[in-house]
């Protein structure tokens, strides 16, 4: 039987309805493919750009142990980016093209990475809050309808747990340290709190692709729902650190058991998305620079492989 677009579409819908997985060789609607490439690539770009704020502290971490841990974490970010580029490539978009879209600004990365890390406490706050928010977002993606993405997310989530805990431990040490250290931890929380809760994206009412992505099993929960889960989990942790969340309107609603938060400055969020955050320009410049300065490594690897192949051919002749 020759499959027509209609029967293919019906088969695809059937798989989605059954909460089954779509694999690379399956037929899929163009829009599904495009949406996934966009989302997975943006996710990959975020991991790669995400190495920069923390990379800034690799040489200045306060102990050898902290240096080793931070190095391991930054390596993980690179690895996450690579798992994800690999998953995006199964959809038929070459990696060169994805990198090019990042370098020329045609594809974005998470706006959270456009903020600077001013003190060591920022490294702790990133692990605790930014990676904490990332986990909240990413755990449901382990059940994404696209198989290669879901499997990459399983690996990533396992590693993120280390990231969040090392960050919380940094905050714990600082919060229980000298008054100056406690103050440093508080200042980092003040800087990272609002950007972290913006990581879940705009309110569902304003989210453009939300419904379609939910229907396709790319997305499992709404932005607001995940944001609420994150806030509910994080506020008691801040209490434990004896730190104050910079939201004067934050309060526990006894009737629902959820925390109610004050208004989020979405104008600021969109401004950073548009490229006007504190570090947007330098993040891309650094990335493009690393890619260009790394060209000789790629060339050397290719030259070495060619030489080995020539030697093997010579030996066989």
């Amino acid at each position: 039987m020759v499959s027509t677009d209609e029967t293919r579409q019906a088969r695809f819908d059937e798989l989605i309805d059954a909460d089954d997985r779509i694999e690379p060789r399956d037929w899929m609607p163009d829009e599904y493919r495009k949406t996934l490439v966009r989302q997975i690539a943006q996710h990959a770009h975020s991991e790669i750009i995400g190495m920069q704020p923390e990379g800034n502290w690799l040489t200045r971490a306060p102990s050898l142990r902290r240096k080793a841990i931070l190095t391991a974490k930054v390596q993980d970010e690179a690895g996450h980016g690579l798992y994800l580029y690999g998953a995006a490539e199964t959809l038929g978009t070459p990696r060169e093209e994805l990198l090019d879209r990042l370098h020329t600004g045609r594809q974005k990365y998470s706006s959270i990475f456009n903020y600077p890390t001013l003190t060591w406490a920022d490294v702790g706050a990133i692990g605790w809050l930014v990676d904490g928010a990332a986990i909240m977002n990413q755990v449901p993606l382990c059940r994404c309808s696209y198989g290669p993405y879901a499997r990459a997310m399983v690996r990533i989530c396992k590693e993120e747990s280390f990231h969040q805990r090392q960050g919380f431990q940094i905050m714990l040490d600082l919060a229980n340290g000298t008054p100056a250290q406690h103050e440093m931890a508080q200042a980092a929380l003040d800087r990272w709190w609002w950007p972290s809760i913006m990581m879940f994206g705009p309110p569902d009412a304003e989210s453009v692709h939300g419904d379609q992505n939910m229907r396709w099993g790319i997305k499992r929960f709404g932005n607001d729902e995940l944001r609420q889960k994150f806030i509910d989990a994080t506020v008691p942790q801040a209490d434990l650190l004896d730190l104050t969340i910079p939201d004067p309107e934050l309060r526990l609603d006894e009737s629902t058991g959820h925390y109610v938060h004050g208004p989020i400055d979405w104008d600021h969020f969109w401004d950073v998305v548009k490229g006007n955050g504190p570090c947007n320009r330098s993040r891309i410049d650094t990335r493009v620079g690393a890619h260009e300065r790394g060209a000789w490594v790629r060339e050397a690897a290719t030259a070495y492989a060619d030489k080995q192949a020539a030697r093997t051919a010579e030996a066989a002749a």
Partner: protein, 97 residues
């Protein structure tokens, strides 16, 4: 030469048990080309509904690590216990992290 199976290349067979999980190595078959390797692999490894997808890869196309290099290759991971979340002790009050 014709009809001699001894010249047929060896193929590594990978089976995906169900949608959503990875292909896992199942074994090898001999076959003169990829198409027939796929047929042989189906006959040999999926007679009892073991899978929904098959991959065959020429064995000669696989580059494996040398068992003698095992220590140099894999040991450095052993002394980095901090890569595991359990290496970080948190107060009991932090329930899930």
């Amino acid at each position: 030469m014709t009809g001699s199976t001894s010249d047929w290349p060896l193929w590594e067979v990978f089976v995906r048990a169900k949608r959503g999980v990875s292909h896992v190595h199942a074994g090898t078959v001999h076959a003169p080309d990829a198409e027939l390797a796929l047929q042989n692999a189906r006959d040999l490894f999926t007679r009892r509904s073991e899978g929904v997808s098959l991959w065959v890869v020429k064995s000669s196309e696989i580059t494996a690590s040398d068992p003698d290099d095992r220590d140099a290759f894999f040991d450095p991971a052993a002394d980095k216990t901090f890569r595991h979340p359990t290496d970080f002790e948190l107060p009991d009050e932090v329930a899930n992290m």
